[in-house]
């Protein structure tokens, strides 16, 4: 990283499309940050995001009637229909804002995401994972998903200070920790080809991520150890898929 890449945020522009006036998000909300990045990414395409299918509890585009809100324990989903050049073919760009607040969210099986692989197997031409702690990666993936022909799915991990139990000022840092410990590796599946977009040779210990959050307070040392092995196995499987898909 050279010294000028620090200034990359200047190239995104300072025009703000995300209206914070009406939203009721908490301090350090990861979903709000991710939604803002999605707005920034789709800025150049003249997309009317307000007319898309919102399933976000605190969205300013929904009425304040709590009975009509979707269940907050389900992941928030944003579906935008992409219009083809001939206006006949339309495919969805689906973005899942996952803050892991479901009832069994702290379970080991739910922490390791396999939904992008399922989406790719179901015929989505582009599936990817992203995190708002890596904003340029997220913006690049949303733009790629919009420009590619066919349906696209993007899974965004959004740290939630309230449900996960950490200070709001660490919201971005916890998301970065999830990427660096390889619990939530950033990769994309473009037309069947796997590619890891953010790779570190030496990962952080998984224990750091577990100890930083109160939702894992009940975890024993044995469980953490078995979870470490699960993370390693999942990442090895991902690397194997990268190799096999590129060699074909």
């Amino acid at each position: 990283m050279d010294k000028y890449s620090l200034y990359a945020a200047q190239f995104l522009g300072f025009k703000e499309h995300f209206l914070p006036k009406g939203h009721h998000a908490c301090q350090g909300c990861g979903v709000a940050l991710a939604v803002r990045h999605v707005y920034k990414a789709l800025d150049r395409y003249n997309v009317a995001i307000e007319n898309a299918n919102w399933q976000i509890p605190w969205s300013p585009h929904l009425p304040l009637d709590t009975t009509s809100h979707p269940n907050t324990t389900t992941p928030s989903l944003l579906t935008i229909l992409k219009k083809g050049k001939d206006e006949q073919i339309s495919a969805p760009l689906m973005i899942c804002f996952d803050n892991e607040t479901s009832k069994n969210g702290a379970d080991t099986t739910n922490l390791l995401k396999r939904i992008p692989a399922i989406a790719a197997a179901a015929g989505y031409t582009y599936a990817a994972t992203a995190c708002p702690s890596h904003p340029f990666d997220l913006i690049e993936k949303v733009r790629t998903g919009w420009e590619r022909h066919g349906a696209a799915y993007i899974h965004i991990l959004c740290p939630c200070p309230v449900a996960w139990g950490f200070e709001p000022q660490y919201a971005v840092r916890i998301g970065r920790m999830a990427v660096e410990t390889r619990i939530f590796p950033l990769y994309e599946i473009a037309g069947g080809y796997y590619r890891i977009t953010c790779e570190d040779e030496y990962p952080r210990p998984v224990k750091e991520y577990i100890k930083a959050q109160k939702r894992f307070a009940a975890w024993s040392a044995k469980k953490i150890e078995s979870f470490e092995q699960d993370v390693k196995a999942a990442y090895d499987m991902l690397i194997g898929q990268c190799r096999t898909s590129s060699s074909q």
Binding site: F14, F18, Q27, C29, A32, L33, P135, P168, Y170, R173
Partner: protein, 94 residues
């Protein structure tokens, strides 16, 4: 109004507001405990605080430095934590 020796200067019994016009709406995050303050000697204008603000409360000023919109800031402190140079500090602002 006196109640057993205790005197209430402003409030009626039960804190009832008898006259209208006592309440007016606040924007979300109007009264955060702490607000970010930029040290212009340390700031290099890299816009990292701007890109990491969840509530879009940070805006660029005319001289290239950054300022906060007090109506939208919730005082979460992400900008303070993510600044590489320690230019953003959280301070109590009246």
């Amino acid at each position: 109004m006196a109640l057993g020796g205790i005197t209430f200067k402003h409030e009626k019994v039960g804190c009832a507001m008898l006259a209208g016009g006592n309440a007016h709406p606040y924007a979300p995050g109007t009264k955060p405990e702490l607000l970010p303050v930029w040290d212009k000697n340390l700031c290099v204008r890299c816009a990292l605080c701007y890109i990491y603000c969840p509530h879009a409360a940070i805006n660029r000023l005319d001289d290239g430095f950054f300022g906060v919109n007090q109506n939208f800031c919730t005082g979460c402190g992400i900008c303070h934590r993510e600044c590489w140079f320690g230019a953003v500090s959280m301070q109590e602002v009246d």
